[in-house]
Symmetry: C2
Subunit: 108 residues, 2 copies
């Protein structure tokens, strides 16, 4: 009687939101039940309705990348509520600047 249908195993989003995971659920392909924290973070930072709207405005083949980038941003914001992933951007910008400064004398 085992089945992989979403009726038996709701996706992480529907489980979190305590709702029935229907066939065609927009979250199910991107929030598998074995990764509950991924949806919890995205929900905390962006909210389920904002993410639903965003996914509905994208083409299906763009949605996986979008969810993964949202999950990355959300996790960064949970870890660092002040700077989120903008902290990583500042760090990388300083690293690029530092490397360019190091290289300059070598190129003269």
């Amino acid at each position: 009687m085992a089945s992989s249908s979403s009726y038996n195993c709701p996706c992480a989003a529907c489980k979190f939101l305590r709702r029935k995971c229907m066939p065609g659920c927009i979250f199910a392909p991107y929030f598998p039940p074995e990764e509950p924290q991924k949806f919890a973070n995205v929900h905390k930072i962006f909210g389920a309705s904002n993410v639903t709207k965003l996914l509905n405005e994208l083409l299906p083949h763009q949605r996986e990348d979008a969810v993964n980038s949202l999950a990355y941003e959300a996790e960064a914001r949970v870890r660092d509520p002040v700077y989120g992933c903008v902290g990583a951007i500042s760090f990388l910008q300083r690293q690029v600047q530092g490397l360019q400064n190091l290289m300059r004398p070598m190129l003269i």
Copy 2:
């Protein structure tokens, strides 16, 4: 009769949300009326209630940086709904990798 009090000039957030901007409004110091797009972006991507919650969990001196990083992320997501500011992180990581590869032969 001119006054700079928030009674006369609601902040961009309260104007957007069509509500009275009360003294002590948590948004007012960071969303001045002359920058309406800043709040519109943050509202579209994160939602006003999520931002309120996040600001309330921070110390007052951390809130300006938090709002500015949220505004940066929101603007990036409005411009690029698939990758948002994670696109900038990928670009910078490739730039660092490229510079390190360029430097390697110079250091041998």
